[in-house]
Symmetry: C2
Subunit: 355 residues, 2 copies
DNA sequence: CTGAAAGCGCTTACAG
DNA sequence: CTGAAAGCGCTTACAG
């Protein structure tokens, strides 16, 4: 492996000049530059990043924005851990992390944090773009200011983000359809549990429902699927609405919860001893895990939330420091979680490699 | 963050002496040592590993040993990729990788490679311990020679390995039982497909079968489960034996294949158009994926084979370079793979972080 | 436009 | 037992 010094000697220039060419900095004559570039190419030069990082002093500021989680039982606790874990690994390169959190049901809280981020003027942002219109506008501002950004969990299909890390929501809904059909043995009616507040703020919910319905229209077009709607999923409303809905239609054998709140539904089913109704939902956070273990939630499609946070930061950092262009999309896996494997997930990425 | 220099100044010694204390090298008076250690503790000193690695010259030799894979469609191709990917990341620290491969049905080929490894006399070994007795003896030799080693995929429960990375086989069999019962709707008889050669060389197979049977004895004790045995699973034998077995007992609705060769069975079922028989197997390598996509294999329990190779090398390397003590066990997840999610697995670890 | 030199934080002979 | 100095490979003011 050649070093900058080797290249410099062969080109009969100083190492400083080679460094300038490598980083495409100005102040090198076209002739010298060409000569050096040829050698760089010839030897397929890769600079020693250890030495580079050691000598390099530029500090990067990265902001992150995700929903706050009240406890570690909630979904967003995991991406948060992923973010922190990634920062822990890269802090030695002089990266400054700024964490922002918003209330995912409150547009104002979201907006307030966006403003704080703009005020901070970071080099990059990793965030979960809730609230479609607001996020699109924010993305435009970032692009204009040349602040790099990565979406996690929710994709916005704007052109100017660096990358998106998350699940294909349609597919995950489709898979949920299959799993619910399997555990109800293709019998009885089904219902989708919809919360208006979720739908408004979280773009993936709608795609999940589409995927779910698509599974049935393709495989069991005769299936009767109801929709049970709430303003907001919480124990009181769930009790009220579900009692009514399930009493009215006692042929319902399976419930699909396209948000991460399946545990709220499970809690209700347990309390009224409705043990013959199957539930499929999303995400294996602690709140859900409790009911997965009891078998009240039959299946959940998980998406390795830790990795979403972890990868988001890593990708952004590598782009900033090394100009390494990430993929446009990193698909989170569709992880099927059920009673028997809920405890067996190994969080690979937590094995931090402390370079 | 304090540096060695800071500590040295405060202790009124040279940086060399601080370095000696940090690494617990001899040649420091008890008094000086204590003084320095106190400061180290006080500031919770962590040395800069970038600088350390840059200045450090010791080379490490790591050997790996896994079954050879004829094509990238086979199981062992993934751990192999994991091994290589890890080495690619750490080669800049001066690690020398030596890859060894054996025929997993041939004890002699295994032994031959063990000898080669001993001749190489590496600092560490990452390997899949097939052939129980031979592996146990090998482990003893390694321990005696103070060569560190990590098991991947198969656990030997010897006391002297650094770590084991792989699945809990019993649980994975148990989960397979549940999935097979689910897709057969708890109807009909089941059969386990056993290959003597696999059982002899691969210790996990037996535990998987135990787990599978345990699921039924706990949940459906009346279930009739046959065993169909082969000398070795290959298309010719499968055809011969299965034709006979499935004709004889046409109440069999589900097959459990406790090895990674479910595709061989699926191939047969497809060729004779036995579409009403469900199959559950192991591992989502390409050969199986083909039949998972067709729906002929209903489910497979995967174990993130890439990570096993990747983590194995990383853990060993970190121990060697940094004396970082790994966990005793890294449980690979029980990943349920079916038609709808087989394409959606994101291999996080392939996003190499090129420090 | 280019080079010489200092420095990042640690490790390692070497000298005493 | 301990220190001074050189060096790992790169980056960065500074000088010209």
């Amino acid at each position: 492996m050649k070093t900058i010094k080797d290249i410099a000697e062969e080109a009969q220039v100083s190492t400083g000049t080679v460094d300038r060419v490598i980083h495409n900095r100005s102040g090198v004559s076209a002739k010298t530059k060409e000569k050096i570039q040829k050698l760089l190419d010839k030897y397929d030069f890769e600079r020693n990043l250890l030495a580079s990082a050691l000598a390099f002093k530029r500090k990067y500021v990265i902001a992150t924005l995700i929903p706050s989680s009240k406890s570690k039982n909630e979904y967003w606790y995991s991406p948060q851990k992923g973010l922190k874990s990634a920062f822990k690994e890269i802090q030695k390169y002089g990266v400054e992390a700024h964490y922002f959190y918003f209330n995912k049901f409150d547009l104002d809280s979201y907006k307030k944090n966006l403003d704080l981020i703009l005020k901070l003027n970071p080099d990059g942002v990793v965030f979960a773009p809730f609230f479609y219109n607001t996020s699109v506008a924010f993305a435009k501002t970032l692009a204009k200011r040349n602040i790099k950004f990565v979406y996690i969990n929710i994709n916005l299909e704007t052109a100017n983000n660096l990358s998106f890390i998350g699940q294909d929501s349609f597919s995950s809904g489709y898979l949920s359809g299959k799993m619910l059909n399997l555990c109800t043995e293709n019998k009885g009616d089904l219902a989708i549990i919809l919360s208006q507040k979720n739908i408004d703020s979280h773009r993936a919910i709608t795609s999940r429902v589409e995927g779910f319905l698509n599974y049935f229209s393709q495989n069991h077009p005769q299936k009767n699927i109801e929709k049970i709607s709430f303003e907001n999923i919480n124990p009181t409303q769930v009790k009220k609405v579900l009692t009514k809905a399930l009493l009215k239609n006692n042929t319902i054998k399976g419930l699909f919860v396209p948000s991460s709140a399946a545990y709220t539904v499970a809690e209700f089913l347990e309390s009224v001893q409705l043990t013959n109704i199957h539930v499929v939902g999303f995400d294996a956070h602690q709140n859900n895990a409790k009911y997965i273990k009891k078998g009240i939630i039959d299946f959940v499609v998980d998406q390795n939330p830790f990795d979403q946070g972890y990868l988001g930061v890593k990708i952004l950092f590598e782009y900033l420091l090394l100009k390494k262009q990430p993929n446009e999309t990193y698909n989170s896996p569709l992880v099927i979680v059920t009673k028997e494997n809920v405890d067996h997930f190994m969080v690979t990425s937590t094995v931090e490699f402390s370079t």
